[in-house]
């Protein structure tokens, strides 16, 4: 049954792929993207019998792009598909982008599905609230689901003001019974509960001012609507079964992000205040990045990063980082293959639980790229929210071809 679905998905993606190539031949449309093969290998035995030790998956992302009117209007379509072995929740299709853009001298208008990034810090992204995260895609939380939006940017001497209307709420996706990186009870996404329903659940609003002045880049934003990250409820159904249910609150969130760029030193700060029906929460990430460039004229750069993460919600915070230190190092060889390494560790100040993250990548034959990621979870005591990840240390390898 799952195999059947996988096969169907692969057929769909082939149609999509060749459809895109065909349409790109029709006119001056640009086609680019990548196809990849991923191996996700867990070091330890799974905690739950439905889970597996090793997962293979395939991925395709294509971008169809066209611009006209002297580059002031453009259209972009970015479909995405990952087909995974075992965990059917991880097999997913998404439209990352489907946008029409019009740029004028003092404004830019974007209509359609898009991704937006706000913020400056590296270890987490507090301020960045527009898109739902694609949590089944990668444990690092950097991937996002496309969000339908109307976005008008007003461009002034004193900064850019972005206005957003965000119709269409996208619930978070979770690893299924057969997937790793999940609590004892797999999250029952289909039973999700909300503060608001109907139109009010579906539509969110946001505004952001961003500006650069000399060494300083800053942004101030506000979001009103259904939160992208839920809290979780344990509920007993009539049948007596216990379910872990995501509960999406209606929130007002104000965010601030500032970066100072002082020669080789970057100072970064993000802070949010978030008000829901049940609480007012404050969270902040502050840190620095210092880079030694072109060490001994070798072309090699080594960067040192450190950030402190605080969240007043403590162990109920949607992220696992409520009072943690992050330290890391970035290595860039700046060679023809663009070899890079990022290694870091997040340490919980109270429990001492550690999360190690190592990411490396290198290009081959100009069009291929190999990435390896290693993630180790260690030392989380039973009361720590990261305790459920104790057996889920893993390696993720992906080989991709870029066209």
């Amino acid at each position: 049954m799952i195999l059947c679905r996988l096969k169907r998905c692969i057929i769909y993606s082939f149609f999509l792929f060749f459809g895109l190539i065909y349409s790109s031949l029709l006119s001056a449309w640009e086609l680019s993207g990548y196809v990849g093969l991923e191996s996700l290998a867990f070091i330890q035995e799974p905690l739950y019998k439905e889970q597996h030790q090793h997962y293979i998956s395939g991925v395709i992302e294509a971008e169809l792009y066209h611009e006209w009117d002297n580059g002031t209007q453009s259209f972009a379509f970015v479909p995405y598909f990952r087909g995974s072995q075992h965990d059917s929740n991880r097999t997913h299709f998404d439209i990352r982008e489907l946008t029409w853009l019009k740029a004028a001298d003092t404004w830019e208008l974007r209509l359609g599905i898009r991704k937006v990034f706000w913020g400056v810090t590296e270890s987490n992204h507090l301020v960045d609230v527009i898109n739902q995260r694609d949590t089944v895609e990668n444990a690092d939380g950097e991937d996002k689901l496309g969000q339908p939006m109307m976005n008008l940017a007003l461009i002034q001497d004193w900064g850019t003001v972005d206005l957003f209307i965000l119709p269409g709420f996208r619930p978070r996706t979770y690893a299924g019974e057969e997937g790793r990186l999940r609590p004892e009870l797999a999250v029952s996404g289909h039973l999700a509960e909300y503060d608001k329903n109907g139109y009010q659940r579906q539509v969110a609003y946001a505004v952001r001012w961003a500006h650069s002045m000399g060494d300083w880049d800053m942004g101030l934003s506000h979001f009103y609507g259904t939160s992208r990250d839920p809290v979780f409820l344990l509920k007993t159904a009539d049948s007596g079964a216990v379910n872990l249910i995501p509960y999406y609150q209606n929130i007002n969130q104000t965010g601030l992000d500032i970066q100072a760029t002082l020669d080789s030193l970057l100072l970064k700060w993000e802070a949010i205040v978030r008000v829901s029906n049940t609480e007012t929460a404050f969270a902040s990430t502050v840190g620095f990045e210092y880079t030694f460039f072109n060490i001994l004229s070798s072309g090699i750069d080594i960067g040192l990063l450190s950030e402190y993460l605080y969240d007043s919600r403590g162990t109920t915070a949607p992220s696992l980082t409520q009072d943690d230190f992050f330290i890391g190092s970035r290595l860039a060889l700046n060679d023809i293959q663009d070899s890079q390494l990022l290694a870091g560790v997040m340490v919980d100040r109270v429990s001492g639980a550690q999360f190690y993250n190592i990411e490396a990548s290198r290009r081959f034959f100009d069009s291929f790229k190999f990435e390896i990621e290693a993630r180790f979870f260690n030392g989380a005591p039973p009361k720590d929210p990261a305790y459920f990840l104790r057996q889920d240390s893993h390696f993720r390898m992906e080989l991709s071809y870029h066209f």
């Binding site: 991704k115 850019t160 760029t261 290009r363 100009d366 790229k369 066209f403």
Partner: protein, 269 residues
């Protein structure tokens, strides 16, 4: 007496003629002996007023074994009066970094302002501009080799005149005055007829000859501005080289600062 007078007169005439000749030679020499800064002022002056430029750049990176790797990018540059230029470069290949874009506001002596756009994350990142001497896209070109030429950036010393490829050239030594340069000095051969660079030798921090860049196939645009279509950078230490090919040069397209802001960076291709 008369003889004497005549003699005296002859002598004085001779002296006057000699003096005239000497002073003429001297003044010719003076004209030739422009100082380094004057020559580079003329270089800058003749390359001022093009307003903005768009072009496609192809880089061919060659290693010791003769293996070639190609990089393609599209560039836009906005000329800024009394300050460094603004530039926006968008990478087209290698394909895994396609769409990555780099916005730079250069300044003569102050730190440049630089932003990088990462298309996969849709993220604009302000980056440090202290990386002057590091390699650009794994090539033999350093970031500082690409930055806009401003007079205040160097201290100039005129060295000599020299014939290079049958072109009469000024040879000028430039000493970087900005921070974080990878060079103690560069030596530039400037064509006397057109006031354009023909060759640059780069000396590293230990003052040994590191790289040589040659400018080939100059074309003139708008009946005034000379641009080399083909540049060759050779690293004498590693034996690697990078060749730059410029295509589709277009000047004075009517671009404004609006095309060089963070909003434009986010939608650049």
């Amino acid at each position: 007496m008369s003889v004497n007078i005549l003699n005296l007169g002859q002598i004085s005439m001779k002296n006057v003629l000699l003096g005239l000749c000497l002073s003429m030679i001297a003044s010719i020499c003076m004209a030739e002996l422009q100082t380094g800064i004057e020559i580079m002022q003329e270089v800058k002056f003749r390359n001022t007023g093009w307003k903005d430029m768009t072009a496609d750049l192809e880089m061919v990176l060659t290693n010791n074994n003769g293996d070639e790797h190609r990089r393609k990018l599209a560039m836009k540059v906005l000329e800024i009066k009394d300050d460094g230029d603004k530039s926006l470069s968008v990478f087209n290949s290698p394909r895994d970094v396609k769409g990555t874009a780099f916005l730079s506001f250069t300044h003569a002596l102050d730190a440049d302002e630089q932003w990088l756009y990462l298309p996969a994350l849709k993220r604009v990142k302000r980056i440090s501009s202290s990386n002057k001497s590091g390699p650009f896209l794994g090539s033999e070109i350093a970031f500082e080799d690409l930055s806009s030429f401003e007079l205040e950036k160097y201290k100039y010393t005129y060295l000599r005149d020299e014939l290079l490829d049958s072109m009469d050239c000024f040879v000028i030594e430039n000493e970087p005055q900005y921070e974080y340069s990878g060079y103690t000095r560069t030596i530039v051969w400037v064509d006397k007829a057109r006031y354009i660079p023909i060759k640059i030798d780069y000396y590293d921090r230990k003052n040994t000859l590191l790289k040589t860049q040659t400018f080939n196939n100059y074309q003139q645009y708008l009946d005034k501005y000379w641009r080399a279509d083909d540049l060759m950078m050779t690293n004498h230490v590693t034996g690697k080289s990078t060749q730059l090919f410029w295509h589709n040069y277009k000047f004075s397209n009517g671009l404004t600062a609006r095309q060089f802001d963070k909003n434009s960076l986010k939608r650049s291709r």
